[in-house]
């Protein structure tokens, strides 16, 4: 896996579908930092040892995901809301 590769929310569509059980690329999100509302596909995603999702407007970390030993750890503290269709 490339380190610190900047992608977007489409790239973690499979993982998010696995975790949330519905398509999240089109899910609305609100940044806990600046309040910007965007579909998850439009957020900046960096993949490395884990996954970091940042607001495309203020670059605040909205979501962090780390997987290992069959478990998944999700930090949503930077996300104010997620809206599933």
């Amino acid at each position: 896996m490339h380190h610190d590769l900047k992608l977007d929310g489409n790239a973690i569509g499979g993982l998010m579908l696995e975790l949330f059980g519905s398509d999240m690329t089109g899910a609305g999100s609100t940044c806990g930092g600046c309040g910007a509302h965007e579909e998850m596909a439009r957020l900046d995603v960096y993949t490395g040892a884990g996954i970091v999702v940042r607001c495309r407007h203020c670059e605040a970390i909205m979501i962090r995901i780390v997987q290992g030993r069959g478990r998944t750890w999700i930090d949503l503290s930077g996300t104010a809301t997620l809206e599933l269709g």
């Binding site: 896996m1 977007d8 489409n10 499979g14 579908l17 059980g21 398509d23 690329t25 089109g26 579909e39």
Partner: protein
């Protein structure tokens, strides 16, 4: 078959068999997959591929589906020299070989064919693959929605789907950024506001836009469209990078 736990809809790994291959360019190949249990897809969606080595090591990547909905599952893959998955899929996979796939994935970067707006597709290299699914879908359903493709490739030999693109009834504008054939009269610049101003629908048409390519390509194209007065919500983007490998 391994099932992945998920709430609601289950995302399941399915066993797919290679059922055909087409060399698109020296670095790019299309694989037709036979996927028992596949639920169908929408134009623009992708799937995840998982390969398992004999020692149990697993590598997983995402690839866009290039075939139209209701026309099977075809992946078009570009070989990345240092990749873990693409060299196998491009150079080694043979008819009957089995791989694991899960999907379809994505509800944002999709075009269903009943949207009223004219469509602008902007592709960088193998970013053309999900856009090709849209172009094929439009032709297949006999849609009269105006559609244009602005497609950046390194050279004429690197143009994926080159012949078929001419037969789909959409307006195709090529730009060849590294090497042009003798007598080339088309574009040779990277896609930016100036090129888009020449060829793209005017902002007054409120087009629906899909941009796919590398991060740098997508950002440059989207910035160019904003300069032309396009609104951010008209522009759907998909950056790849991890899709290779």
């Amino acid at each position: 078959m391994v099932e992945t736990a998920a709430v609601g809809r289950r995302l399941t790994w399915l066993t797919a068999s290679v059922a055909g291959a087409v060399e698109e360019t020296p670095r790019v190949r299309t694989l037709d997959l036979d996927v028992p249990g596949w639920s169908g897809h929408r134009a623009g969606q992708h799937l995840d591929v998982r390969l398992t080595a004999e020692d149990g090591y697993q590598a997983q990547r995402s690839y866009s589906i290039g075939s139209a909905p209701n026309d099977g599952v075809a992946l078009t893959i570009e070989r990345l020299e240092d990749g873990e998955v693409s060299p196998y899929l491009v150079d080694e996979a043979r008819d009957g070989d089995q791989i694991e796939v899960r999907g379809p994935i994505g509800g944002y970067f999709v075009w269903d064919g009943d949207e009223p707006e004219p469509v602008l597709l902007v592709a960088g290299g193998s970013g053309v693959v999900p856009l090709m699914a849209m172009a094929r879908h439009r032709a297949r359903i006999g849609s009269s929605t105006p559609m244009q493709l602005v497609y950046s490739s390194r050279s004429w030999d690197d143009v994926i789907y080159r012949d078929e693109l001419e037969s789909l009834g959409l307006d195709v504008v090529h730009t060849l950024t590294r090497e042009q054939p003798p007598g080339w009269t088309g574009y040779s610049r990277r896609i930016d506001a100036e090129l888009l101003r020449d060829v793209a629908w005017p902002a007054s048409e409120s087009p629906r836009v899909y941009v796919c390519g590398s991060t740098r390509f997508v950002d440059a194209a989207a910035d160019g469209l904003l300069e032309l007065g396009y609104e951010a919500e008209w522009i759907r983007t998909e950056r790849f990078g991890a899709t290779g490998g």
